[in-house]
Symmetry: C2
Subunit: 406 residues, 2 copies
């Protein structure tokens, strides 16, 4: 058929320029982005090999090394969302001859098990009820029984509100010849994580939580131990896009000469740079303390509303909200899960809070679907004023729910 | 090791908010984004399941269906760059039992062959010298010899400046029981492509070329024939992120109920919506005519400068640059390749044009590295004024190069 015979179908309804409502995003993410980040998003494009972009990439690398507390040379951002980083982590270190032990106490472990199985690796599940974390003893039993080459754990389990303690885990894994892979999508910047000192081999996160940048470019880092495992692979990773040794060359992690790899998501890099810069400006310790303090106020307020927290060990309320203690965590400071009262419809509450107060809170996800509300206080959104706003909105919604029952 | 014993390393040098220079991007992409697109990038985030975002996704779907000229229900944007869309295309239709025939006449065929091999598929190469396209006879010989289940071709070969004629190819592939997969990253909106009428089974593109939106969210569409092949798979695709049937559910392609899949890159979706809306506003035919007319002026000007076009058949200069003919193409209207004069250093010219005129043009890539300049006139940048600017800059650079030889 000659091109001249082809008929062009008419365009769809013509669209006005996009308008986006202002909304307070207090779900488990995305969070609102601060003005500095949004301003960066609207900068004009540059070429993906221009010196200014290579400098932005270097600044992102330094920002990730700080946020992750690592000196790993192989630290960069993959061109995708947090889920893409999870796949990048797994597909680089888990080939079909590998065995992956997945800590399964919420939706992110389920996802990791799904991905590892698709990669052809042998998957072993280590299960805990949603709302609980894994102890060193749980992990050691799993390592002894399954002899995995990689252990996957979620630091901030945003579907359940659990913070996984990390102390001693890396050392334990290494004693058993296993790499430690940790998802810190919902926890980075909100709770202490120190990649090198905690001997984490692969760590990834996502920008739309504490970093306050749009999803689309996700930080990841690999220890020398993980890098050596990649160099020993028998098969090539089933992706060029996420092949970390190729990508590392584009990011200047494998020496000064950079290989063109793909056209990076320029605007996402601009925003990620700003998010990381703002975290560095505040400082990790202050950010951890702020998230913890606001989370404690929230938990206190939720209990005063007669609600019950989902995570068993309640967040202890210290004498001062400015306490600098980094004691073992009792809950995830960024996302709080609270049980849906028996006499309420969760969806009605969530809808009411959105419609009347213009605030997003969400229901559960995966194992917590229908059982909990999830309230996020992350990055730019983790403020005392937002704690008050969301508590007021919830009080109002609960009263509305009870009134409509009368 | 208890958390209290951990030491936090100090932040890197604190960074000023990002500043980005204004630059005319006339390389093979990214192109400059129009103000409407950049304004959209700086809108506040919304949740990935908010009704406004689902509407943006529906509008993107309609925009892709128009730009691709398809009614395929399975039309959506993957959360990554154009290269990610290439992987999404291949990994959904090529499993280890498949055989993929790859048209190799530039870098994109090399990439596709690399990716298909990583997926475990049998890869056959159909080679043509860089600068040439495949004839129906070339393709038929390949189909008969290798009996592939998928044929990969690049419509706009941006490393060489070749436009692959598509007429009759889909029909030919289907007669041989093969799916037709086409990369239109560098051609979409700049040269005619009519997915349904040309019987293309899988088509993908990227926003940073004619659509004038930042990379980070890439359009892709699958025919019913391609979808059926996915339903018949023996193995799961080695990615959840890019599993088209899961992703299709999130995009509302598989019925009205949408499954949460991953946190979409919200700002990239905003921008892609605007890019697609602006293409629909102009209309495909006008966009094709504009790109062709400006490309012809450029080619004429390049020849007047004494330069030789790289693609053999020179772009014919019609009587009127407003000609509406859609006759078979002689070259790629979006990216023009021109030979580096023997007495010039390509890098010196490119650097001069950037330093003195603030314009990006690039050297070759892959098989054309060191041999050509590549000049892109795409979307917002395809204007008569930009043709003049880049010709003036090149004239100046060539004079400088000759002066420095004296």
């Amino acid at each position: 058929m000659a091109a001249t015979q082809l008929r062009v179908a008419p365009p769809p309804r013509l669209l006005q320029p996009l308008a986006v409502p202002q909304r307070l995003l207090l779900g488990p993410g995305p969070s609102n982005a601060p003005p500095r980040v949004l301003a960066a998003a609207s900068h004009q494009l540059l070429g993906h090999m221009h010196p200014e972009i290579l400098q932005v990439m270097d600044e992102i690398k330094a920002g990730i090394q700080y946020a992750f507390q690592t000196r790993n040379a192989l630290s960069l951002a993959v061109s995708g969302t947090g889920h893409c980083a999870m796949e990048a982590a797994l597909l680089n270190v888990a080939e079909p001859s590998d065995s992956v032990l997945v800590g399964l106490n919420g939706i992110w472990g389920e996802r990791a098990a799904n991905v590892a199985a698709r990669l052809g690796a042998t998957v072993h599940e280590l299960r805990k009820p949603p709302g609980e974390y894994f102890t060193l003893r749980d992990i050691e039993e799993g390592l002894v029984r399954h002899k995995p080459t990689v252990l996957f754990l979620t630091h901030g389990e945003s579907s359940t509100g659990v913070l996984q303690p990390l102390e001693g885990l890396g050392e334990l894994c290494h004693r058993h010849g296993c790499l430690l892979l940790v998802d810190s999508v919902a926890s980075l910047g909100g709770a202490p994580i120190l990649m090198d000192q905690q001997e984490i081999d692969i760590l990834y996160s996502s920008p739309q939580k504490v970093l306050g940048a749009p999803p689309g470019s996700a930080p990841i880092s690999f220890s020398e131990r993980a890098r050596e495992k990649m160099l020993r692979r028998k098969t090539k990773p089933p992706s060029f896009y996420l092949d970390m040794l190729c990508l590392g060359s584009y990011w200047g992690c494998e020496g000064p000469s950079r290989m063109y790899h793909h056209t990076a998501p320029i605007q996402s890099l601009y925003c990620l740079r700003e998010g990381l810069a703002m975290l560095a400006e505040q400082g990790l310790e202050k950010s951890w303390v702020r998230h913890r303090a606001n989370c404690i106020s929230l938990c206190q307020g939720l209990q005063e509303l007669g609600l019950e927290l989902f995570v068993k060990e309640e967040k202890k309320i210290p004498n001062s909200t400015h306490s600098k203690t980094l004691s073992p965590p009792e809950g995830l400071p960024t996302v709080t899960t609270v049980k849906v009262p028996e006499d309420c419809d969760w969806k009605e509450i969530v809808t009411y809070v959105m419609d009347k107060h213009n605030i997003e809170i969400t229901g559960g996800l995966g194992p917590t679907a229908g059982k909990v509300f999830r309230i996020g206080l992350m990055g730019y959104n983790s403020t005392a004023a937002n704690v008050d706003r969301v508590l007021q909105a919830l009080r109002d919604a609960l009263q509305h729910c009870h009134r409509s029952k009368l």
